[in-house]
Every structure is written in C-alpha cells, then in structure tokens.
Subunit: 479 residues, 4 copies
C-alpha cells in the first residue's frame, strides 16, 4: 500500500492510499490449457491493484518463459507475445510502485535460475526487514540487480540448496517480516502463501482439471472459475499434478487483514476472507448514518470507491441517492497539466459536477478516506460552485493518524492531515459544513470479522514488529 | 454515429450505436492564453465521443500549427508536443471511425492551404451526399487524399475563391446534406456551424476575454468555462478579435437532434439543447416504470450508460437501486481474446456480477439499447449464473427498426434485431423473463422537446433526404 | 540537390551538395509477381539518394495501396507491411529533404483520387515555378495539404478532367519549370517522364514479362534486371499490359544532366546517360593529375565518394594509392554531439586517420567538392596531427561559384566559399600545402558528353529560366 | 567471436566469424568531465564489434547510473538519456550475440549491488568453464537472471566478501577459463583486465587528467585521446583518483591474441598489441602474392575487410587495384528477403558489380575467410555474370579447420567447409578458376609477433583447455 499521487507531474488527482500489487496463478493438468490467455484475463481483472508494470511466466511443464514490461496489461501483451508464451501453468503480476523505483528491473514476476532450478516469484506486500536481510545476504555473497523485496525472497530461498523446494520456501518465509502474499512457480509447480497475519489477501479457485490463485476473487469471476477458499494466514499451498497440498508453515498469532482492502483497494465484487467488499461498504454507509445528524436532500458518492458506501448510506437514511459527480475514465498517468493556472484544474478534469442534481441542494458527499485533505477541499469547492447549498462530508473510515509499514509510501507520511489536526480543523480546511468520520466501533460493527483486521493506521497498534528507526519517525509524527 | 463493435478482433464487448466525433474550439484575445493546454483539456472531456484518433490546430494569430495521430488524447499529445503548439486560438477533434477507414490520413482536423489561406476543418456528423459532391469536385479538378467528408467540405469552400471566407463557408454548407456540426479555423478566426436540422450538438461558452465551442457542455465544465448557449440549427458563428458574430446561413425546416445523444452518446453532466442528459435519462427511467408491470427486488444498471436511467426507475418504482454489475474500466480496444473457449468471455472480462446483490433476487436490469441482442443475452445469462431468480430487462429506448444515414456503420445494419424480430422473439432470444422497451410516447414525455428529435431509427421518418440506393437497402431490411 | 548539413544538431559531418530523391517503378504482366518485394529491393539500392522518408504504392491491377513513413527503407517497411501491399505493379520513392519540411505530409509517393481515378506521383527534382503554379491553382479552387512540388503536379494533372491520363500528364508537364524526373501510377499503368533538359536521371530496364524504371541503373543490378536505355529529355513512357509506349511530350532544347550525378550523387556502379559513374570519376582523377604539379608519396581518398577519383589519380600519377582515412559507417542522423568541446569532434567521430599510412608522408587527399571549406579544414588538420608532412588537396570538380535552382538548399547558398574567395584564399583557409581544382575543361575531357551537362554551379549558365527574385539574390552572391 | 549469419531471416549476406563485444571505460579527475558523452563517442567507434545491444554506466563518484537496451548506440541513447547519465567516470559496452540469447536481460554492462557495493561489469570474450562455475555457485546459493558469462563473473567476485575489491576480482579472475577482457566499475573506480593469454585485446589511453580503456585504439582516435599501451595478458589495472596502478594477477603462459582481430574483426586504423591492423592486412596481401601464380588484369577486394589486403596484394604484384564490387551500407539486420525467388538475391542487394571494371578481365578477388563457401560462390557467379573472363579467389587466412571455443557460435560449427573438404573441392564448390589460401607460414611472416597468436582454428592447437564434451564434438568434425 502506498500513499502517493496518481499523477507523475505534481497534479494531485488522487489523494488515496495505494496498494502495491495483484498476483494471479493457474495450474492445469489439461495439456491443451491456454495458461497465458487465462493469466492475461486474470491480470486484467486485477489491474486496479497496479498499473505500473505487468508480467507473466508460463510453463509447459518443462520450459518456463517470461514476459514483462512497464505499463498496463493491455500495453505489455500483444497477441504475438501471448502466443509465444505456451503452456498449462502460469503466473502473473501487476505492480504499482513509487516514482523512485519505476524501473523495468523492478517489474515482476522475477524469474531466475538457482539451486532449485528455474524459479519465479511474484510478491504482493511490503517487508519491514528487507534492508537487514539484504545486507546479510550480501555478506554471504548474494548479488542484487533490483531494489525489490522479491529479489531478497528469491535469494533467501536459493540459499537452502540442500532442502526441497517447499522446505526452502518455508524456511525463507519464516524469516520474512511485514506483509507478503506470494506466488511462486517452477517448471511444473505452482505455490501460493500468505504471511502469518494475512495482511494481504490471497484465494484459491478452480476450473475443470485446474486450480487458480488470485489476490482477489474478482479474477475468478472473469475467467469463470469457482471460488474455493481463502489461503489462511501462515499457510502455504503447493499445486502440482497431484492437486493441492496445504502446509501451515508458521503459527498465525492473529489474523490482521489490511482494512483498506474493504475500504478502498479491492473491487466491489470481490469476496475477501468471507466478506463481499460491496456489502462491507454498504454496511459502512449504514453505520455512518448513525454518526451523522444533519438533514440533507441528496447523497452522492465520490466515484468510484464511494458508490457502494453511498448506496448503503442512502438506504439507511432514506435520503435519495444520486449521481452528482461524473468521473472521466480517460484521465490516467499520462495526463499533462496545462501551463495556464486554472482553479482546481486537477479535480475538474477528473471529476465534473452534475449541476442539475446539486443546484440549491443540501448535499451529503461520501468519500472513503481523507489523506492530505487537498482533494477533498477541491471537490467541496466544486460542489458549491455548482450550486450546492450545503455540503456535508462523510468518510467511510476513521481518521488516518498513524503511518503504515506494510506498504505505505513513506515519503508522504508527514502529510497525513489527521495525524496533526483535529476533525474540526480538517472540516474548516476542506470547507465542509459538517465532517463525519466513521468510528472504529462503527467500522467493527460494519465488518463482522472486524477485530481480525489490521487497523494500525487508525490506532497505532501494529500487528507485526516495525523497524526501530521508523518507530522514531512515527513518534515525531505523533508528537 | 456508428453501430459497430468496440473491439477489433471480433469480441463483442459493446453492442451499441457509436458516435463519430467530438469537436472543441477556443479563441482568446489574451496573447498569453495557452490554447493548446486548454484544447487538450477540452478534448479529454470529449474523449468518450471518439477514441480512434486525436488532433489539434493552434495559432498565435499568424501561424497555425497542427498535430494529430491515431490513439487517445493521452497518447497523441506529449508535453513537448503541447509546448510546440503555441498560440491563443485552437481547435481540437477526437474521432471514432469504422475499421475500414482507421487511417491517419482520415484523422482530423484537416489543415490545408487554399484560396482562403491556411484553413483547418473539424467535422462531427455524416454527409449523405458525399459521393455525389466528390465526383462533381473531381470533374472540376479537385484532388482527394482521404475518404473523409471533411476533405469534401474543404474543397467546396476552396472553390469560392472570390468570396469572403464566411460567404464561402455558407455557400458550401448550403449544398451539404446529412448531419454536420463543424468547427473551422484560419490563422486568426474560429468558426462554428451546425446543420439546418441540428442533428449533432454544438454549444458556445466563455472564459474571461475568451470564447469556446464544444460538442458538449461537459468540456466547458472541465476548463471552468461558462455555458452561454447552443448553436442553433442553420446557424454559423464567427469568433475573432471583435467577439462573436452570428449568421443564419440556412432556414431550419425543423430541429431534429439525434435522440441517441440523450440515450447513449453524451456525458450525463452535459446540457444539450437546454436539457441535462442525466435528468433526461432519469426521466426515461421514470417513464419506463409505466410500461413495466412485474414485481422485483432490485434495480441494477448496465454500467455506465444505464446508471442514470436505473436511478430514475428506482426512484419512481420504489424498488431499491443497487450495483449488480462491476465494469472493468481497463478493458479497451487492445484487449486480446484468449484462444480458450470460455462461455461469455467477452462479457465476463468487461462486466462482472456482484453475487451478494443478485443471489435469489428478482432483478430488473436497465440498458439503453438492444442492437443485435447478443450482449444482452450474455449479460442475462451471467446474472442467472450469479443466482438471480428472475431477470427483467428494461430498455430506455424503443426498438431500433430503421438504419441511420447520419452516422450509422452500415456494415452491421442488417443485424438490427428489432428490424426483423418481434419484442417477444427478442425476449426469448436474450432469455429474459420480461422485456420492456420505452415507447416513443414515453420517450416524448421524458424529453420535453421530444418532437424536436430525430427518431428515424425508431419510426423511419428521416428528417433529411437519404440516398436512393440506401433507400432500397432499407426496404430489404424492412421486407 | 541540396547543400545542407547531414546532422540535425549543428554538427557538420558532411558539407556536400545533397540530392533530393530516388524513384523506382515496376510493371509486370505476371499475376504472381511480387511488386512490393521488388520495389523494396529497388528502394534499398537507391537509399543513398534520400534517407529522410520512404514510401511505396502497389497495385494488383485494381486496387492501389500505399505505405510511407519517415525514416530509412529498413525502418519504414516490415514483413507485415510488405505482405499487405499485394500486386504486380509498384512504385517507390526515397526522399532527402531540408530540415524545415521534414514532415510526414511531404513524404512520397503522393496518392490521391481525382478525375483520373486513383493516381500516385513520385518526383525527383526541384521546380522553379512552384509558388506561381500553386497560387494560380489555389485561385481555381485547389487545396494543398503539403509544401511539395509533387502536390502541385498532381493538381495540375487533375485539372485536365476531359483529357486522357497521358494527355493530362503531358499538358501538366509542359508548364513545369526546373528539374523533374517523375514516376506516376494508376491502378493498371506505370508512367515515367524526364524534364526537357534531362537534369535528373531516369532509366528503363527489364525482367522477364516485366519493365522497370529507376533513377539509377544500380537498382536494376540489385534485382537482376537488364538495363535497356535512359529515358530521354522531354520523353514520357507509358508501361501497361501492351508493353512500353514512348511519347516526346516536349522538345528538348539541350541535354543538361546535373554534373553532380557523376561527381558525387550517383553510386559508382550506375550507368547514367551512357557513362559508368566509377569510370567517369577515374577519368576526373586522371585529368586532375594534369593540373597537379607537386610530388608526393601517397594518394588517399576522402571516403566514399573520393575513392574512384583517387584510384584514377594514382594510376595516372604512379603515386601509390592507400587508405588513409577510415569512415565510421554507423554515424548517421541520430548522432548526438557531446557537451564536451572536442577539437574537430564532428570529423573525428566520422573519419579516423590511419597513422601508419600518413606518418612522415607527403599526402595527396582527394575530395569531390568544397562547399564551405570547414570540413576540408578539419580533415587536413587531422591528417597533419596524424603525422602527414605535407597535405595536397585535390578536388574532382571546379569551384562552386553559383547557386543551384534545380535542387540546392538555398539556406546555405551564401556560404559557398568559392563564390567569394579565390583558390589561394581557400587554400589558406583550409590549411593545405597546395589546392588543386579540376578545371571545367578537364571535366569536359573526363566526361565524353561533357557539353551536355548542367554546370551552372561552376559557370552561372543556367539551362532553365530561374526565378527573378532568385536572380537578384544570385547577383548579390556574385557581386 | 561467433560464426553466424548477419541476417535474422535466413538470408546469408555475411558468412564470417563474428566477435562478441567492444568495451570502453573512462575515468577523469575533472569534476566537469562529460563521461557519458565521451563513452557515447567511444562506443560509436567500437560499434563494428557488436550491434545487438548497447549500454553504459556513468558515475559522478557517488551514484552510478545505468542505461542499456537492444539496438545500435544511435538507437539506445538519446540526448535526454545522455543528459541524465551525469558523471566523470564511465563504462560502455556494445554486444553481438547469437539469436538464441538476444535478450535485454543479457545486455551489458551488468550492474548490481553486492558485498562490494554497487559494481558494474562489462565482458568481451567467452568462458569455457561457465556452466561448471554456475552450477557450483548455485549450490552455494547464487541466483542467475541471465545466461551471460558476465553474471557468473559478478557472482564470483561477490563471494569474496572479506577481500578488498581488487583482491576479490583477482581471485575471481584466476578461476575463469577461456577468453576475457573485462572492464569493471564501482562508484569511484575503473578497472580493466585481460585474460592470461590476452586472447581479446584491451588498451589504455589518456586525455588531460583522464584515463581511458578500450577494446581497440580506434576509440582513442575518435575522442582525441593518446594511446599509452596495451594491457598485458594476466594484467589488471586500477584507475582511480591516484592514477593507474598495475597488478599482474596471473602468470601468462604465452601470449595468444586471436588472429581474427587482424584478419577480420578490428578496424583498420586500430593498433593491437603493437601492430596496425591495416598494415597487417597489407602484409598478408603481400605474402599472398607469393602463393599465387596465375596472371591477371585487376585485383579487387570484397569490401570492406578485403580492401587493405587487396591494396597490399596489388602493390606487391603490380597488378592494378580497382573497385569491382560496391557495398550497399544501408543493408543491415532488418532487411527482409522478398518472396520472389531471385538468383543470389542475398548477395545482390548487399554487393553489386561494377561491370566496366570487370568486363573481359581476368579478376583476382580478395576475401578474408571462407566459412561455408556459399557467399563466395555467389560472389564469383556475380563477377562472371558481369563479364569477368577469369576469377581467381585469394583468401587472406589459412583454411578454418577447427572450431573456436573462445567465442565461436557452435551452432554452425559443422558447416566449416574446410574442416571436411580439400582446397580443390572448395575451389570447385565456389566456382573459382583458382583458389589460393594464405599459408600459416605466410601469416606468421606477415605478422611479426605471429607465434604469439591464437591460430587454433587453423591448426587445432588450443592455448586454453577446452571442455571435454566439446573435444569429442571436435573429433566428430575432424573424423
């Protein structure tokens, strides 16, 4: 998860926490199975989890082949490329990364030859002890060609040259700290595993004669696969010609799925750890009404992530739901900010008000988070310019007061507005008539398995040990 | 408007009428005005009207410069390109075209030197007498380097070498038949005009010291411009250092805006000929409830164009609105169909069901049109697979029984399912429990200026003369 | 012909007159004939005549197709492109152009639809009355999308809508002034013509059941075709299913082939107007010895165009021929000049001395022309740095004192060093021990048809009328 | 060195042994020194040694940056790229590779982080114990992301985590077998070394305050640097702020420079191990006359590598030198073979005869090697078609009878015509009137340090141990 801008050139169009990656894997016993086509579909369904680079490894049981590049799945893979990647076993990865490391060298999966033969690794998450592990490995002779966690994991596994592949992976996984859902592949085996806290999701599905792994179940829906179950925290599954074997490679002290999967990251049609994301958001909307006391004429979402919550809010409050903001889906990374200084241009090009819905109305606007507050301020100003009489901002999560060490982009950490400002200060800053956050209790009521979530960014209770120097940094933030 | 597939390789992801183009123009008296940046923003806001090619002409009052290429606005223009296009006067064009003419030579605007000096032309619409005009011009010595209507228009204007520019344009416009909203530009003048029936939209807005033309008012919203008014059918406006001058170059027998602008083509936040598109769609939804008699548990839209209509339907019927289908916004033209035969894969990759919303429910699904019926059939099957108990299809337009000569892609004309099948036959074909079309009367009630629309595709009453050979072709269809 | 720098960024690697274009055409009666493959080969053989853009038109007798783009033949055409260009009739063009007009819009051939049906035109040469013709055509309604002579020629032909194609072309050709070798193509006919003075070359060859046109006979050699004859000044040939028909569309006042074809432009293996280029250059080398009086140890060429002349000089003078300069063939247009100021870096990266050949030697260096003298100065300094005791510069042409109006790049005209400096001044400027130019009489002796050449750049006697304003400009130069 | 075709698609345009790489390094103490510009120039001068990929690493003394890609130097580096690579220390590499490993992952230099900090390695040569070293390293935990020797070398160095950088490199170099000239770079140090036999060249030069390393001295000439000396077999030089330090890391059993550097690979203006390549070739030409007994009218080279030899032959034999074949320098890797079957098309597009030089002549044609004989056959047929009365083929090297293990492309090893055919058989096969090879004794006379060359491909006496399985393979060849 990274808190970063969506745009390269300083234009703040999005002001949201960003997740790092999506992973997909498929193993079929049908020799005619089109693993590259299937992986391509699976990656398309997970594209919202990462738009920076895309890659896949495909094996016919003997020779794994890889293709990866910067860009969207649509740009990285051509018909020719897919046709060249022949086989019945496949693994794909989509990546979102901070600007500093937007390098092809960091694109995943990583494939290499080592004591385990050809091995490919795809990673979703963020290790907290990468640097320490890397230094130790370097002292033992390892060579690093990228700055990714993935290469550290690969080297850790390669060290155990006398173990079986599965034992080597389990030994390596036990020294990793932080969040990691992994998919690994050899010429004839597919492996998936989830960290002991289950911070990042990973689930298992099936097609006839075939098993599938994916970060989110929406990928199963796209390929017509049946959802079987989530991989458990601390579990490793091996998929090969004999089917699926499960290993509990580590005790799971507690289950701590990142709450932002429900709030913001995942697709509404996905089911994560037993709960549909759309329903979770609707429930947050319902809970939000309990904290909200003003009267209003219309409930509108900030698209797209506010939509489910707004529908839930509208149903519970009996205030009509409507479309008050249109999102321009063509505005992406390559958008160029004009030289002319236009007020709120960043938001205007991405979101536009529907004046006939807003004019002379008391408007409730539903968003999922406020990170720095700048985008919220621009949206509220735009609603008022379009004639809204009152603007009530409702946020489907508690204030973010603590940094994340399992994926957050630390470069913007100090900019977390709620780490230093009161709700009333934030309300004034963004210019809302009222500002309502969902409480942690409300969040727990909305999500049945609430206590099994990582909510460290709301309360500072980190499930996994965080680095010392980082801890200091946090205190500064909190001071 | 073109009835064509969205995908190059035969995968029917969209089965909708497609409009050809969006045009944008801006004229400022401020010498520092960044016309290329502003045109870039305007084109982004009109991108939904055409994704095949993009181009702009910019002038500093003396030297017009052009840049155009195949692809989205985001791909065609870089920071360097925009910086090279310097000036305070600009004109942009986004184009959708049939496969056959997807050539750079057909990209717009077209810029050329002729008796009027440097002239640039951008066109939205479809002429019905192109071939006749081209042959006549060829006999007089004209040379054609593309197959566009635009080049015919340019040559017609160039013929009038002894007339002023405005007179030459008006003379040329009077011999054009069919639909045409035009923007024209010289080194120091911007001109806009709309055909005598106003089949395609065009409107006028303003910024300080600056005037703007656009196919839809949503482009004004993106750049912070104020909407002034629609250009009238048969009207031509000249924008230069003296402001805006209006000429009625032709009588307007009647106003006949293409009804599909409201149903499908335009962005919900646009106001066209005085009516907001989102409100028009909500009204269609309300009217649809009057034709619908079944009972149901939930109303869901086919995103994105069904959303407004579904909200209107839900409000009027008091049946809850919900999100039952998630649209993958990353699936575009470059999607490659896998070799493996997956049932309904085309629809599955683009749309996915939210099972928790659908399971055991009686579902009303709202779509805007049924062209061939194949996509509707796949969506309904997907809803049932996801557990829907009943599926009731409601369409926010009457059956399309007649071909369009003002923009339709004739290659798929014979495939209009409603031209040969009864509503009951279509219902069976798509597998719905009930199928309800909005009636023409309902449509007229929903849209106040209803009688001022072109609804030829529903009733065969063509406002502008259509070619003879085409007429025959139509009879075959109707036979 | 253009006198321009080879490099975009100010680095003077070449300081030579540059020709504009090469044309190739092929017509076969064999339905299986691979015209695109053959045209591709022909264009490769003519690549030295133009590296800016490349294009070809291919017809199967019914449908002509075109492909062109900026760049070398190797970059413009892929296997896929060639496979799509199916047919037995073809025409290709390679273009060299000045920086100002390096636009895709100016790439050739130009193909358009007009009163003659689909017509394609490819042009080698430079008209002197383009602007006058274009203005006149504009007043008659023509529209120009490029700044090429070719589009003017196309429009002139299109005007004669009541004439046969051949008559229309002949009428058009009669009003053209300047240099022009043309190839034209319809769906089923190939036409070639040469201007009344034959300033640019064009020749006719044959393969079984097939005829070929090319700017130089070296293209025939590449495809295994037999050379038949040169097209005559003022002659037009029509190649179609009935074979070759010849028309003398204009009297030829005199034959005036551009002398630079022999000196610099053409490939040594070509035969132009009956004379092999390599032999012509060897003869120039022989004649040069008659003007040269010093003694020396070794004769070395400036590669590649000085090679033939140097061999001729060495044979006649009995001074040994050797390789004293190595040319780096990888240095092309895209070379980037380093920031660091290196003495003579432009020449050093392109040419390197062979010290063991030069050390302590009296060296005769043979070059074809001196335009501005800067490159010659750098080469001589480099030879001295490498140890040459004396450097004697011999030039295989007389001093260039007059500008060219049939192809020269006028922007550098004032920089012709010999237009204002004496031979002795030039010798001092370039730092040679002696400087010897071939005399005009020597040139005439070397080339048997000498009096039939255009040598206006040496003596100011222009065969074709030149524009008035240009004439003034020239006087300034001469004054 | 690789014996491979020049063309991707099966068209045999070149039939020559191919060298793998060129390396360049520069270290300046001047903080303003433009190392990227200088490395760019150096790589241009070495481009003939490798055209598949290009890369460079530049450091400002603190942060090394890398850029590499497939393609020519001209395509891989733009002005922007060079500007981003800031620093005073640099290292560049150009690579030629077999088709199978034409992957970006194999492009050089390789840069990585290890126990020595950031380290970059560039390699010219071929190890004979790669596979054995790689397996051993894998067992110790190493991970390999490419199939290059370079990555093996990097890992070997990284293992010695307790040694200084220089000691680690020397320890690693001592276990390498085969040919290797290496350049290595850290943030503040440049290192060069040559294998104990000096099979590949490497030399040292200087600019003010700056030292330079290059595969060939022609790179010094391009940047105006002064040649100091060759790096000695078994020598390692360290260049840093204290100047150049030399270490003899290994005894050199004998000096065994690959003879093909003189015959074919190096540029004529380079000086390798004290001998100018052009002079060496001229001497080979002189020696060849001693073996040649026929009479003839003209001596012509196969361009470009035959030129120096032919001049030497002509001088010694007093038979006139002339240009009988013109080489088309535009024909490169991207050339597409036409579908039409043209006799000898591969040779015709690349080489064309000058008929006026050949007609009715007894021609001596000088080439550097005959590998498979097919190209020679085509050239001789072309000369006869152009009118040559007799064709005498002279080859500036002895017959290649043994495979090379220090760079040869083993896939075509069996196709070495001289490994199984007598000279008379080869003469018949290629269709020459006589065929003369230079003898090994002649070669030794021509090259003063003759006995210090590796001539294993002529006599099977390999200086460095070769792999066992390969040895068997060789016996098959010889059998």
């Amino acid at each position: 998860m990274e808190f970063t801008d969506y745009m390269a050139d300083g234009l703040t169009l999005e002001d949201k926490p960003r997740e790092a990656c999506g992973i997909f894997g498929v193993y079929s016993n049908d020799p005619e199975f089109d693993a590259s086509g299937m992986t391509y579909l699976g990656m398309y369904a997970l594209q919202h989890r990462g738009q920076e680079s895309a890659g896949m490894v495909i094996s016919d049981g003997t020779h794994p082949t890889i293709h990866k590049n910067m860009g969207l799945v649509a740009n990285v893979f051509s018909r020719d490329t897919l046709d060249r990647l022949k086989g019945r076993i496949g693994m794909g990865h989509v990546r979102y990364s901070t600007t500093g490391s937007s390098l092809l060298a960091n694109a995943q999966p990583m494939m290499a030859r080592c004591s385990k033969g050809i091995l490919a690794v795809a990673h979703n998450g963020n290790l907290t002890n990468t640097e320490q592990l890397r230094l130790q490995l370097e002292m033992e002779g390892s060579v690093f060609q990228s700055t990714t966690d993935t290469e550290v994991i690969m080297n850790l596994i390669a060290r155990h040259s006398n173990d079986t592949l599965v034992n080597a992976i389990m030994k390596a996984a036990r020294v990793l700290k932080g969040s990691f859902s992994l998919s690994l592949m050899t010429k004839d085996t597919l492996i998936g595993l989830r960290d002991p806290y289950g911070i990042r999701p990973l689930c298992l599905g099936e097609l006839p004669n075939t098993h599938v792994l994916a970060s989110e179940s929406c990928a199963f829906s796209s390929i017509g696969a049946r959802f079987i179950r989530d991989i458990q925290p601390g579990e490793l599954v091996v998929i090969d010609k004999d089917g699926v074997k499960s290993y509990q490679y580590s005790n799971s002290p507690r289950h701590a799925l990142c709450v932002f999967e429900y709030i913001y990251l995942a697709r509404p049609d996905s089911i994560i750890d037993g709960l549909n994301v759309h329903l979770a958001r609707k429930a947050m909307g319902r809970e939000l009404t309990k904290e909200f006391s003003a009267t209003a004429d219309v409930v509108i979402p900030v698209p797209d992530t506010g939509i489910s919550t707004a529908i839930g809010f509208a149903e519970a409050s009996r205030i009509p739901y409507d479309v008050g903001l249109i999102k321009n889906t063509y505005v992406g990374r390559t958008f160029i900010q004009p030289h002319q200084n236009l007020r709120d241009i960043g938001v205007r090009i991405k979101l536009n008000p529907v004046e006939s819905v807003l004019r002379d109305k008391r408007v409730i606007i539903i968003d999922d988070t406020i990170v720095r507050g700048t985008t919220s301020g621009k949206i509220i100003r735009m609603l008022r310019d379009a004639g809204a009489k009152e603007v009530h901002m409702c946020v489907s999560a508690p204030p973010i007061t603590h940094p994340c060490y399992y994926g957050i982009d630390t470069s913007v950490r100090k900019e977390l507005i709620a780490s230093s400002q009161s709700v009333e200060d934030i309300r004034k800053y963004i210019g809302a008539d009222t500002l309502t956050y969902l409480t942690l209790e409300g969040l727990y009521r909305a999500i049945p398995q609430g206590r099994d979530l990582c909510v460290a960014c709301f309360n500072g209770q980190y499930p996994v040990e965080i680095p010392n120097n980082e801890r200091n940094d946090k205190y500064i933030l909190e001071g």
